[in-house]
Amino acid sequence: MENNFILQTRNLTIHFGGLCAVDSLNFKVRSGEIRGLIGPNGSGKTTFFNIISGIYKPQEGEVWFNGKNITGKRAFEITRKGIARTFQNNRLFWQLSILDNVMLGMYSHQHARLFDVLLRYGKIRKELKDNAEKAVEILSYFSPELSDLHSRLVSDLSQGDRRRVEICRALASDPKLLLLDEPSAGMSPEETEKLMDDIGKVTEKYPDLSIIIIEHDMMVIERIAQQVIVFNYGKKIAEGSYSEVVTNPEVLEAYLGEELEDAES
């Protein structure tokens, strides 16, 4: 596999029963690139993320990350290698505080050995304190209000803030690849504006970080993504800049087909 790509998939395929959700997918991302991933509902975008992050095992094909074959590895191993993600339906740790959530993002670099916790607790306490400071720093980079209120439960937050915490948690693991799954879902236009600013801040602070972002809101894709890939029925049907892709007849048909179906039912 070529080494200048941070992520590369070859012939990636996964079936669920009779349905082929991702079909012989070849996908490449370079370091520092920001990729948009669009396509009608059910085209396999989130499934693709789930395979990359290790939640699903593909039946065929390979995934290479940072020069290593990570096909079929478990989710926690893949995170520890440097892939972080957010979830469409916001999987935060609801009964924990904002700060705890972000600190858990740092787990991949420290785990926690029972021996140390029991017998070298001074060291553990210092590590936690340092982590807490780093977490507050990450939070305040995006929103000083959030970092001030870091002891609040995440369940008390607005959707915009929840997404912000999720992104901070993902960044806390110092990843090389960030997967954002429909980050603007459930947001008002104002919140979406702020989200785009936040993603801009991410690229500013972490210029080497590669980002793949799934979105239905084309405004976000247009503003953020350098290159866009379009999925349909688990296959890649178009690739290029936003303007190229949006005028591609096959892409239009894929989306129109979805609208027609919605209109008919």
């Binding site: 972080a84 505080s97 858990l104 787990y107 670099h109 926690a112 029972l114 029991l118 002891s151 948690r169």
Partner: protein
């Protein structure tokens, strides 16, 4: 300024002393009517304190300001209890049992409270610890002090092995597996010849330390305390160790990862948490302390049988965690204490114990599922 401090401390002292006085009354008094009035009076006052915001806040700030003082006075009271009760060996034994259950409950809290792994095999861990200690003491004469950690390790090994098959299961099915295993252990203890079968194991000697036997009377400040006090102080020491361990686990990435697994297992995996090994760690850390408690129990009563380690015990300990507070160590100690002392006080209730526990669980889960004392938010200075 100084006057205010003294005034506040004096008030704190007074409030705590009144509370301790109530506890003493509850313990000593025997007429059911009086016991009931103490209980209901306490519930009523607690209810008022919780509902009346200004009172609530005042008390909380008072305790937070003078935490060390409150703690010292509380610890002193606990240490001095046997002296106050030196004429009632039965009461001291009851407090010892409350401490024993507290040890079991804090361990179970790692699983039920922090990680939401509802484990019904506490009796099995406890029994393995007890039988390991009893068999090695009676057959090979090993010392209590060697057997104590050994029983913990034996139970921990069992906990680890119990954890493995449950990893393929979720929620209710995990509980079913633990119920089944608990039953298997009970049946094994009841039917294997070398465990003594239904007759159990008798003749477990009393522990001794430096020539002083735990069966002898304890002389403190000229007072003669019945031998039960020795075991009371022993279980306090173990509780202290366990409390420190529980706090360290809680305020560490281990405790955080357990909570993360509880809240969202998939998101937890995606933070780099090896969910399987974290869950198994919850199993064997819980089991270790159950094993310690088992060994202490065996040596304190001198005779054990499979009946002591039946399913009912697991249910009782789970009730204590549910009442006390999931993920709150102090709450769990409180839950264990009241669920031991109250049924003891109401001997009539003994035949209806199952009803009592069932009703309590139902009420708690409906009204306050997180327990009387909910989990505290972690603070990092």
């Amino acid at each position: 300024m100084v006057k205010k401090h003294f005034g506040d401390i004096g008030l704190l002292f007074l409030l705590q002393t009144v509370f301790f006085g109530l506890i003493m009354v509850f313990l000593i008094v025997e007429k059911i009517v009086l016991v009931l009035s103490v209980i209901f009076g306490t519930i009523f006052i607690s209810f008022l304190i919780v509902k009346l915001k200004p009172v609530n806040q005042f008390l909380q700030s008072l305790f937070n300001k003078y935490k060390k003082v409150a703690l010292c006075w509380g610890v002193l009271f606990i240490l001095v209890l046997p002296l106050l009760l030196h004429e009632s060996p039965y009461l001291i034994h009851m407090l010892f049992m409350a401490g024993l259950y507290a040890v079991l409950a804090i361990g179970l809290d790692f699983q039920v409270g922090s990680t939401h792994l509802v484990n019904f095999a506490t009796a099995a861990d406890y029994g393995i610890g007890a039988y390991t200690a009893a068999l090695l003491a009676v057959n090979f004469g090993w010392s209590f002090w060697v057997l104590l950690p050994l029983s913990g390790l034996a139970a921990a090994l069992f906990g680890f092995l119990l954890g493995l098959p449950t990893m393929k299961t979720k929620t209710y099915y995990l509980s079913l597996v633990t119920i089944a295993v608990g039953l298997i252990i009970y049946l094994l203890l009841n039917n294997l010849s070398w465990t003594g079968g239904p007759n159990g194991i008798a003749g477990i000697p009393l522990p001794s330390i430096g020539g002083f036997s735990f069966g002898s009377v304890l002389n403190i400040f000229g007072l003669e305390l019945p031998f039960q006090a020795n075991f009371y102080y022993l279980i306090l020491a173990i509780l202290l160790v366990e409390f420190i361990v529980a706090r360290r686990l809680y305020n560490s990435l281990i405790g955080l990862s357990w909570n993360a697994i509880r809240d969202d297992e998939i998101a937890a995996q995606c933070q780099g948490i090896n969910v399987t090994s974290s869950k198994i760690m919850a199993f064997y850390t819980n089991a270790f302390f159950d094993g310690l408690a088992g060994a202490i129990y065996a040596f304190s009563v001198g005779f054990i049988s499979p009946e002591n380690f039946a399913f009912m015990l697991s249910v009782i300990v789970i009730t204590m965690v549910i009442i006390g507070g999931m993920g709150n160590t102090t709450g769990v100690i409180f839950g264990a204490t009241i669920m031991t002392l109250i049924p003891e006080k109401f001997q009539v209730v003994q035949s209806y114990r199952l009803w009592l526990f069932a009703i309590v669980i139902l009420v708690m889960l409906l009204v306050r599922p997180k327990g009387l004392f909910p989990q505290k938010i972690r603070q990092y200075s």
